[in-house]
Symmetry: C2
């Protein structure tokens, strides 16, 4: 039996949105998967009752504290020992659950990832990634999207390994094409960082670590024609993601309505996986709706079902 | 009388597209502006005749060579002394024309800008910029868009001055808001480069050099809500521009049709101004259509009419 933990207290509209999202997810996760809700038992039960959902469909882990957005992430993670996030990470670190997701404090989620679950041995710096839609209909993975800026080429080259494993195991893309985001197709193009990264990743590709296809220009991030895994510095990845969000909002205001742009909606994205740590952790958008929470839960389940963490550990401990 | 030079031989569809674009521009430039066409006299005359445009509407500067896309830019600029680009830059450097534009070899245009027209004294590194549309209907200026990567903060701070002058003089935006593209609104956010740039630009803003409004996140590049001049490293700016191009193409394929996305079309953009050199130089897209050429010519005229180069020289030689 797979067990997945959800922070019922995380997000601007918690616990309502989180619990409703969990109820929505119920119909889509298999019978061999159990969802644990971490949070205020009475409030969770009240929402389940209002939704007409039997409480026994979930395991409720009662917690009494909440890490608020204004809290100092590291301090709150340590001092609020009975917070939904701290308790959730405790379960995850002990292996009671095989994945944990929250739309709450991103900072506290990162603290839990780095200090409770911990980086996989051999991974220089864990990363946060984003699944982006492409015009081809197939998703692509962009990483890093904001955790690590001024990345060393060695760090980016590892993201090729991590991204490739994620794309294959979780997104179901066979032999994913891995590329470096760069400002030209030729390998001599770019800044100091991307030139060095290209060289390293080419060598790793030649060594069979992943299918390296070279540079990808930003014009092709969303075309799906060049790569399934797009590696970049966190500054650049964050810029790409925020620019997409901004254009999505403009399009929405303009009444643009088509499957490509609709799938750009953060609600459909399923949260941001923290990759390179010892167990699946997914961070949701603060303003997550029930639909966004549902998709975040499904992402977490897929990571756990695919034994993503186990695959990453094998890759870095050969 | 203002004189503007156009490379009739530049671009994938030259000389037809270039000459047709010049004819289209005729109706929109004032009577006190004369367009000089640099290129193959016979072919230019034939196209003008076919367009039903009297040849005396233009001055034709007959040249016999063309710098091709495959040529080494610096070598060709020197050896093809009778090429339309080399001759055009000769006219520009001597002040016979007050602006020069081409959709031909970008490399040769940069060589001409740097070695014939030369950087303005005090400008560390000239820059290439792009006018981008915003949802507010007002354009914004993004710089650098690919000439300089791994920029020092001092270089980026100068782009605040250059961009501010361009936005005011050429785009007609009073007291333009200048921002650094960054991954957070707070001044402590960013990578080493943007943090240092923020600090420098804040000091320059306080000193009255331009109206500094702080950081802008990529979600607001196209909203128009935060800034009119957006300063960034060439790697990031090029990524933003190419991503916009890619999404424009996806939208076009999806049938999205609205004024915002239509104005994202490179044909409407009017080319890429090279800024920080002693005279206006505009580089057009290689695949420029007559409409794109027309807008490139109008941009060049606006730069010349506004005495952009004179204003930049004053700013850097105080």
């Amino acid at each position: 039996m797979l067990k997945i933990g959800i922070d019922a207290m995380g997000g601007d509209f918690a616990p309502e949105a989180a619990v409703k999202g969990a109820v929505m997810a119920l119909g889509e996760v298999g019978a061999d998967c159990r969802i644990l809700l971490f949070g205020d038992r009475e409030r969770i039960l009240a929402i389940l009752a209002a939704e007409g959902c039997p409480a026994e469909k979930f395991d409720i882990v009662a917690t009494t504290e909440v890490i608020e957005m204004g809290d100092h992430p590291a301090k709150a993670f340590q001092s609020k020992t009975d917070s939904s996030i701290t308790v959730g990470f405790g379960y995850l670190a002990k292996g009671v659950i095989q994945g944990f997701a929250s739309a709450g404090s991103t900072g506290a989620m990162m603290v839990g990832s780095m200090y409770a679950v911990k980086p996989i041995e051999g991974v220089i710096r864990p990363t946060i990634s984003s699944v982006v839609p492409t015009a081809s209909g197939r998703p692509a993975l962009l990483l890093d999207v904001g955790l690590n800026v001024d990345c060393k080429p060695e760090v980016l080259a590892q993201y090729g390994v991590i991204g490739s494993i994620y794309a294959e195991a979780v997104l179901g893309i066979a032999e994913p094409r891995v590329a470096v985001l760069n400002i030209g197709e030729e390998e001599t193009k770019g800044n100091a960082q991307t030139k060095a990264t290209h060289e390293l990743m080419k060598a790793e590709g030649d060594a069979g670590k992943f299918r390296f296809v070279g540079n990808i220009e930003a014009s092709h991030i969303f075309s799906g024609k060049v790569a399934d895994v797009i590696v970049c510095d966190g500054f650049v990845g964050n810029t790409v993601l925020k620019m997409a969000e901004g254009l999505y909002r403009i399009n929405k205001a303009l009444g643009v309505d088509n499957p490509f742009w609709n799938s750009m909606n953060y609600e459909m994205v399923g949260g941001t996986p923290v990759l390179g740590v010892n167990a699946p952790v997914i961070i949701g958008h603060g303003c997550s709706t029930p639909l966004a929470i549902k998709n975040m839960i499904l992402s977490t389940v897929r990571c756990a079902e695919a034994d993503l963490a186990g695959k990453l550990k094998s890759a870095f401990n050969n």
